[in-house]
Symmetry: C2
């Protein structure tokens, strides 16, 4: 099974602190290199995490607030200086497109590799061979999308069983893996009998948002800007409390919740963690440069 490596690059909200940079999360999977958001300083955080900024294939921007996008001109400038040739795909809310392009092109970039600017709608927006990315509309003060990295389900061959009936042909393997029923030497080989279904893993990135409907995911990265003491403030500015994030995680049956997008007022995030744990036990506070292998 290919590992999915999830790296938190910046975990603060609005303003960076000594401990936390601005929002960005990296996913590395089977040669793909993907960013969710690109706050100021993202290229340096990537370097500190040992990930080449130039490797990024696609960037998924949640919304048009500075702390989520001000890292774009710098990382693109670095890609250019590193002689990047491959295109960069930037997905973003339709209402953010024009201004984020201004931001990136304010200072002339030359010679520029191709940049594809892709306005996002709800549903599957990026289809890879082994995974896809879904966009989900969130509830914030401006048009905002959350993103899901969803590995496709796959069929694993039951090699022992297949050897018993004498099958040893990769073409038959391939068809079984694709879910086809194959007739071979008069025997009917069904995928249900000769393979097992391995469920794909999924990661959801949901910032900035008040609690809202989101589809089930295994690993949930959720806005936890505030503690319960600031619940009114959270409602007013359309963010979530850590406890509310935990309620979402419980409702969708997540395997793990990462408290993310922590307001600078919580230098010690322990109270947030405790409030979340009352609702949902499998929870951790995301920290800068924390890497999780799934």
């Amino acid at each position: 099974m290919q590992p999915i490596r999830l790296t938190f690059l910046g975990t603060s909200a609005s303003v960076p602190t000594k401990e936390r940079g601005l929002p960005a999360v990296h996913i590395s999977y089977n040669g793909y290199s993907i960013l969710f958001d690109c706050g100021e300083g993202t290229q340096r955080q990537l370097t500190l995490a040992g990930i080449s900024p130039t490797s990024i294939d696609a960037i998924f921007i949640t919304h048009l607030h500075g702390d989520h996008v001000f890292g774009l001109p710098g990382i693109i400038n670095t890609m250019l200086l590193n002689n990047r040739r491959k295109p960069l795909y930037i997905f973003l809310p339709p209402t953010a497109l024009r201004r984020v392009r201004w931001l990136v092109h304010a200072i002339p970039l030359f010679p520029l590799f191709p940049i594809a600017w892709i306005p996002v709608r709800e549903g599957t927006i990026f289809e890879g061979r082994e995974f896809h990315i879904e966009a989900v509309r969130l509830d914030h003060t401006t048009e905002t999308f959350g993103y899901i990295f969803r590995e496709k389900d796959r069929r694993k061959l039951l090699k022992d069983k297949l050897e018993k009936v004498g099958v040893n042909d990769w073409r038959i393997y391939r068809r079984l893996k694709a879910g086809e029923t194959v007739t071979w030497n008069g025997i009917e080989l069904s995928p249900e009998e000769y393979t097992t279904l391995v469920k794909g893993r999924s990661i959801g990135y949901f910032v900035d948002t008040a609690p809202t409907y989101i589809p089930p995911v295994d690993y949930l990265i959720h806005d936890s800007a505030f503690g319960e003491g600031e619940r009114e403030k959270a409602e007013e500015v359309k963010h979530s409390t850590a406890r509310q994030a935990a309620e979402v995680a419980k409702k969708i049956g997540a395997k793990k919740l990462f408290l993310y997008h922590i307001s600078p007022r919580y230098r010690d995030p322990t109270p947030l963690l405790e409030e979340a744990k009352e609702v949902f036990p499998y929870v951790e506070v995301a920290e800068d440069l924390m890497t999780v292998e799934l």
Copy 2:
């Protein structure tokens, strides 16, 4: 004597490394808070150095290359979130003005405090009570200015001498300090006799540039992007080698040279330091978050 605190925030060139952020230097003096350049990540480096990003009074931009300006939108966003009211003065080359404004205003900033955009010409461009800032045209691939922080010379009263003749009046003190000759009880008090001249300290920030004419300064922060092995490259892209920076320091009789704007190719800057030391002994490699009290 008021201390001048000089803090190197980012000391890399073009691209940040694990050890070095993008160009920015901070000067703190008698309540003034000043930045030279504002590369991506400057607001976080300020926070790490214990300096409030919101405190900055004026930013002096050398030229329109991304690594020197991409920190502006983020620091201004943070000032806004911190309810800044006082105006921010941004000095920059005339040819950079339009595009840097685009960069800052690409994403709506609201409610914004006043920003004064001031195109720079050679000479004194900012006059404080105890210091001024001079701009010097440099030799780079685009219109570039270097900046000098120059403390004014001041007269220090020779209190013992004044007491001997019986003067103890702050109005006379003030006039002597201002360089006036004062007649008191029939005695002529000349500033030459009753004060000493204390020369003001000066700091020069000269990046990005090939070696060029610059006026004398005490503390010289000079482009040292390359070593002698890359001298041709340095000439081609209009930067300086560490040795060339040392030659400038020697020529102008600087007290101290800081090698600055170090290319990411020199993870270990020792060779640059050694090449510079052959020419000029009072030299140090600037490091991120290094603070010097003058």
